[in-house]
């Protein structure tokens, strides 16, 4: 899971950390759309390698943090690839080239290629998301949404508050499960927990909204303490992203 986490100052001050969050968001979406146009293995492999290399160098993400963020997604990618290779529709096609016979499973080359392609795409998407999350400060994201993408303030600050509430959500859930256990109720999971969780989230949101109003939020035009401007760095990152996508798609 990629959740709100503390980013080291080195990550925030890195080249990717200083790149416009909105630009990074646009690049991520463009890459995902680009990868969706192909089933071959080359493009996602190149995108994944480029984004990881960029994250480690330009983004100065500690290798351990990146590995921890990627591990569950990549595990899912391997699982997906294996499943699709073993049970791919092409395996039932008598005309297809057999790649291997594993006990009862006949694996065709077509199924293997499709499985690997799918797994790599999931891995690439995971890598893009992880590098985005590990180089993007949430406050800067909100500032950038307001100042560069002209998203309404209420929406941007609401999204920021929601992002900040993610850790609180899991704390609330842990406490509610403890409350069940100490009352002798079986099972870690019960649908009723969702109701309590929702009530707590709404109440927290209400209190936050009152606190924001108490400080004059929305009472008039806002000024900006942190200004975000487009810069040469953004242009360079954008050009690099386009080149990467075009080159990777050329390997189809």
């Amino acid at each position: 899971m990629i959740v709100a986490r503390d980013l080291a100052p080195a990550q925030l001050d890195s080249l990717l950390g200083r790149t416009s969050p909105v630009l990074k968001l646009v690049i991520s979406i463009a890459w995902l759309l680009g990868l969706a146009t192909t089933v071959s293995a080359g493009p996602p492999l190149i995108v994944a390698l480029v984004v990881i290399a960029a994250g480690l160098t330009l983004g100065r993400i500690p290798g351990r943090d990146l590995a921890r963020a990627l591990a569950p997604l990549w595990l899912a990618a391997v699982g997906l690839a294996t499943f699709n290779t073993l049970f791919g529709a092409a395996n039932g096609d008598p005309g297809a080239m057999t790649f291997a016979q594993l006990g009862p499973f006949r694996v065709t080359q077509a199924a293997l290629a499709a499985g690997i392609g799918l797994g790599l795409r999931v891995a690439a998407i995971g890598a893009v998301g992880a590098v985005f999350a590990l180089t993007t400060d949430s406050t800067r994201l909100a500032d950038s949404l307001v100042q560069q993408a002209h998203v309404p303030e209420r929406f941007a600050f609401g999204a920021l508050a929601a992002y900040g509430a993610v850790p609180r959500f899991s704390e609330d859930l842990a406490t509610l499960r403890q409350a069940r256990r100490i009352r002798g109720l079986r099972g870690d999971w019960h649908p009723r927990l969702l109701v309590s969780l929702l009530v707590l989230a709404i109440r927290h949101g209400d209190r936050m909204a009152i606190a924001m109003d108490a400080r004059g939020f929305g009472s008039g035009p806002r000024t900006l303490y942190r200004q975000i401007r487009w810069g040469w760095l953004d242009l360079a990152v954008a050009v690099g992203a386009v080149v990467t996508l075009v080159l990777s798609l050329a390997t189809r």
């Binding site: 409350a179 256990r181 100490i182 002798g184 009723r192 035009p221 900006l224 303490y225």
Partner: protein, 477 residues
């Protein structure tokens, strides 16, 4: 004619929540001079917070309902609420201060000048880029106060601002209020249960009764002399009720250690952390005798609540062992039904542990028929009679009522070991007396009590053995 800046004039003010059958408070009239301090006191559910929010102009705008009477508040108002976590809007200290200034349209240069000043006044210099979440509770509340003061509001509304703080954090917060008042920087409306520190600050006291009608308004000494008895009868804390040791962290008097022959809880070399590499409890050992009363004291974030949860198996130690009851069960591996008989836990924030739609359902959840029989008597004793409260939503109770419901939920099972996290938090005097009596009765009947608390009066009234927990270790006791 408008009053001079910072003045407040209230005439016959009242407020009824939408769907409410009676006003939260009503018929309040008073006048407050600029730079003065109004202390609002009242029992649980008397509408004191609602009154404060009305002065802040938040009632009827953010809180649906009907405001009656007249209210003249001259100048902008800053507000500080009880819970730091749900009033700090931004992620970092400096941005938090900036938030209010940005909302009010301050030019950037003025903000650049003002923010360092505000942080220095609050004693938070050097923490500009720190995440607010990483501050202590006391620092968070000072940050909230600094954020409210940054735009120089002239009027400050403080709704139980020290309720979540340990004695040191509260003392620092009050010191800050004293200096604000001595500089006459703001008119202050203060809702506060820590009477021993709040009364000396007040120029004017408003005492609200259980029905939301004012008992008295006036200078503190006059109000005490005229209405002290009536206030006490209504359950309002009076300054003389709260005798607190001169030094909050003075060495507590250690009660005799338990008879070593019969510990009911044994903690042996336990370490625990919520995140990897961030231990909250360090190699902690503690032994609690049967029917003993133990108070876990110490600063916010020291590990009291975590230790309490480890004792009754709501958390599992990373290292070391916890043994509960004479058979030495590991409580974190017990089946829930077995655990509920042995251990009880009262959460600090009652709402965070509620699981049902009505009060009756909440207290009855998971009970055996034998336990269910006790419900009506217990609820009467806690001042939550089922015929009045049974069908209400647990989330629609006042703070004090919600806390008593969470107590009922734990008490009804009559567990052998009962852990309570800040049980007296926000209780008025009647609620406190009732709680103390129930805990003493349970203790006499053989229940082992473990109380994590900042309330030194409770520690004394329970005559509890004190274990001071600091940085995840027992440093005393």
């Amino acid at each position: 004619m408008a009053p001079p800046p910072g003045r407040i004039r209230v005439d016959g003010l009242g407020f009824t929540y939408r769907g409410g059958t009676r006003p939260a408070f009503h018929d309040v009239s008073l006048e407050l001079a600029a730079g003065a301090c109004l202390l609002v006191v009242g029992p649980s559910g008397s509408g004191k917070s609602t009154f404060a929010l009305a002065i802040a102009g938040l009632v009827a705008r953010d809180i649906p309902g009907e405001l009656t009477g007249s209210l003249v508040v001259d100048g902008p108002v800053g507000v500080v609420f009880q819970d730091p976590a749900s009033q700090l809007v931004m992620e970092r200290v400096e941005d938090e201060i900036a938030f209010g200034l940005e909302s009010l349209g301050w030019p950037r240069d003025a903000m650049r000048e003002r923010i360092p000043q505000v942080l220095a006044d609050a004693g938070l210099e050097g923490l500009e880029r720190r995440r607010s979440q990483r501050l202590s509770g006391g620092q968070q509340q000072r940050l909230a106060l600094a954020g409210a003061l940054a735009p120089q509001p002239g009027i400050l509304v403080l709704d139980e601002p020290t309720a979540n703080l340990d004695p040191d954090g509260a003392a620092a917060f009050f010191a800050r209020l004293r200096s604000l008042l001595s500089e006459r920087r703001a008119t202050i409306i203060l809702v506060e249960h820590r009477v021993e520190e709040a009364w000396p600050l007040a120029n004017l006291v408003l005492a609200l009764g259980r029905d939301g009608a004012p008992i008295d308004v006036g200078p503190p000494d006059d109000v005490l002399a005229r209405s002290g008895e009536r206030m006490a009868a209504e359950g309002i804390w009076l300054p003389k009720d709260r005798v607190v040791p001169a030094q909050a962290n003075a060495s507590p008097i250690a009660a005799p250690p338990p008879d070593p022959g019969s510990p009911i809880v044994t903690v042996n070399g336990v370490s625990f952390g919520y995140e990897r590499d961030v231990p909250v409890i360090h190699d902690l050992s503690l032994s609690i005798g049967r029917a003993e009363r133990v108070a876990l004291v110490g600063p916010n974030g020291g590990g009291k609540s975590t230790l309490g949860r480890l004792l009754v198996g709501l958390l599992r130690p990373d290292h070391g062992t916890v043994a509960l009851d004479l058979a030495g069960h590991d409580p974190s591996r017990l089946k829930p039904a077995e655990l509920a008989r042995l251990g009880g836990y009262v959460f600090q924030d009652p709402e965070s542990g509620f699981l049902a739609n009505t009060v009756a359902e909440e207290v009855g959840l998971g009970l055996t028929p034998a336990e269910a029989v006790r419900v009506p008597g217990l609820m009467d004793r806690l001042g939550l009679p089922l015929d009045e409260f049974g069908s209400r939503s647990p989330y629609r109770l006042s703070g004090g009522e919600a806390r008593r419901l969470s107590l009922a939920v734990a008490l009804v099972r009559d567990p052998a070991v009962l852990v309570l996290d800040e049980p007296t938090f926000g209780q008025d005097r009647l609620g406190y007396d009732g709680l103390r009596q129930i805990l003493r009765d349970r203790s006499d009947a053989g229940t082992t009590l473990v109380v994590a608390t900042h309330d030194l009066r409770l520690v004394r009234d329970l005559d509890a053995r004190v274990a001071e927990i600091r940085d995840g270790r027992v440093v005393h006791g």
